[in-house]
Amino acid sequence: MNSPVTDRVNDHVNDHVALRVEGLSKSLGTRRIVDDVSFTLSRGELITLVGPSGCGKSTLLRMIAGLEPNDAGRVFVDDHDITSTPPERRHIGVVFQEGSLFGHLRVDQNIAFGLKHLSRSDRTSRVEAMLELVQLSGVARRFPHQLSGGEQQRVALARALAPEPRLMLLDEPFASLDEVLRDDLRQQVAEVLRSTHTPSILVTHDRHEALTLGDRVAVMRDGRLQQVDTPEVVYDRPSNRFVAGFVGVASFVPVADGSLAVVRPHHVTLTAGGDDRVVSCEFAGATRRYTVRRTDGSTVVADGPTAGGLSMGDACTATVVTDRLHCVAVDD
């Protein structure tokens, strides 16, 4: 499958481009981990890079940071070719998944780690400013292991931002945190990144995180970028069947020209009585989610009210207006 990647925002305006990646590839043995990836990141933009685990997104990030050598392709930051620059001279901040704080240094010493070029007083004030930015002024003199997981990741963010990097790469920074903490923290992190106008790429395997945080969403699979676009476009007009299914709940209904219509739950109207059957239903708070087997053999997912709804095995009619829906190719 070789669908062209759509890169709709600012592609041609070089002044606004913070990062340009051209044909980046990496193989391990015969397996292509990252396969001919190209995209641009604009100034102040936040791209979320999403895909199933093992799709190569972390490797792509590490190649941009210079931590992993690439086989082919080039990386430009602010229009400078940095493909062969070692990581310590790239000025790219990285927040890792967890445990990358220096356990032998206090929080303030961790944040000051990348500030050796500053004078002592500048360093102190910068550390203070960063701590304030991530709302952790009280813990400056603690050691990392005395902080909660969420606090540790905020320190890691502050440490990476302190040297004012040209761009930030965040490799699943919330993966090890529990759900409630994660929701709070990701809003906070997005705010910090936007307030400092730092162009950023955030890797995640969580589609919800990808859609809510990113100015644009990049979907990756088997080493290849499938689509790079705004969350709305990726959700409503996915470039292929994989993207459609990955970024949200989707059913696929064959249409006349031989392609598949992407049916989201809100495209389906469900009424009691008829020849279709409810094959499963699950409680989802305000609504109930139904899976319906239709007479033509296709299956669609629909939402219905919780009260007085249908139950499993009930006869029903699922109506889908397919003619205005977005279609994707069958193969893939």
Binding site: H91, G99, L101, G103, H104
Partner: protein
Amino acid sequence: MTVTLPSIATRRSLPGWATFVALTALVASPVIVVVSSIVDPTESMWSELWATRLPGMIRDTITLALTVVGGSLVLGTGLAWLVTAYDFPARRVITWLLVTPLAVPGYVAGFVWLDTLSGPLGARGVRSIWLCAAALVVTLYPYVFLFARASFKAQGADARDAARTLGVGPTRAFFRVALPMARPALAAGSALVLMEVLTDIGTVRLFNVSTVADGVMRVWFGTGDRGAAAELACLLVVSAATLIALERGLRRGARFSTRPSERPSSPIVLRRGTRFGIVGLCVAVIAVAVAVPIVRLTDWALDARRSGNAQTVAGGVWHHTSSSLTLVIATCVVCVGGGITIALLARRRGSLGRLLSRLASLGYAMPGPVVAVGALITLAAFDRIGLVPNGVVLVGSFAGLVFALSTRFMAVAFQGIDAGLDRVAPSAVASARTLGARASRVAWSVELPAARTSVVAATALLTVDLMKELPITLLLRPFGFDSLSVWVWQATSESLWEQAAVPSLVMVAVGMLAVGALLAALDRGAEVAS
């Protein structure tokens, strides 16, 4: 609402407690005896020693300890960094070979060097404290090497990668991140080296360095005054304890082991020249520490065969080797058995259990002569109260010797096995309990199998340590019982290098096998953990 789950309830059975306390008391008794001897000092001995040899002994001990620990730190850490961070030809083999100096006792490397330098090379003034320190460094650095290597491997790539994205080059990342994070491991390795230096009597005697340990031996054999020897031994205990406490204190609140990273650090591939430089450096260390001794020892052994006394040598070798192996096996059985028992009992008994298990580990922080003195006093007390019926005397018996060795070396088994048990998920133990297994069955079928590689590693390390052990065996062996190490000691104290060659070779060979088993078990254990 959060609920704190209590640790799995175990009936605090009386037999369990009794076994635990008795075992701990038994293992800790020699140390307690020695330390309590300081309450009533023999003033005449102290005033005489102070006026004559004590200041020199303290000075030599401190000089030797600092030099050897410093040298081992540099050599062990540096080599460990080279073999973990860089990729070069034959890296695995070289890693194994770099641990093999552990199999060569310092006193064996020492007499080979002495003869090689003064004989074929014609060097003068070789019996110096510096050469003594060098012989100890090249035979003891593997302790630091092993700990440092494990630590560097466990650190993974994330922290070092983070350092690099913060503008720090690979070399500075080593000094600013990898090295400080390895500090507890380096401290543990150095503590072992320190203990070995404070224990050493064979190497220092070769080079005419009079340390406190040497003084204890001289007081013992010269005056036969055990009390005085015990008091002098106390000096060693105090200095060892002070150094270890000092390091702990300097660490303050910092915790070094962050969660092991998922991504192992991938070794850096180097340019051709640098690669051969590293290989050359490793080969040089191995040559000096292992190859030269083996070549010269073999040479002497062949000489002895040619000169016609092959028969006597062969008979002696069998006799001494079987003595040594019997002693090693018996002590290993006691230490591993005791170590497993203490580790299992301690982890079901909360903070008091931890305290008691630490008490039982005290022996390993004591130099050999100290343990020997304490064990002898303890055994004599047992004999006085008639602990073993039918008039069996423990002092000077094989059982007494095994007891003394076990009080010092049980901690090796305990700590290794305890670390292995740490890898058993609490949920696995809980699952076994809910499936109806009693605590004893959990121990036997869930906990111990998980700690299997640790048991192998502990046994291998014990074998290496016990093969070359000298002071305890020398002081407490039964009449007529000669191990390989005692044979070497006796031959070298009369400068009869040729006679020491064969037993030395056997010791090195057994040690090499054990080192191989140790490294294999450690690597397998690390794999299981990750």
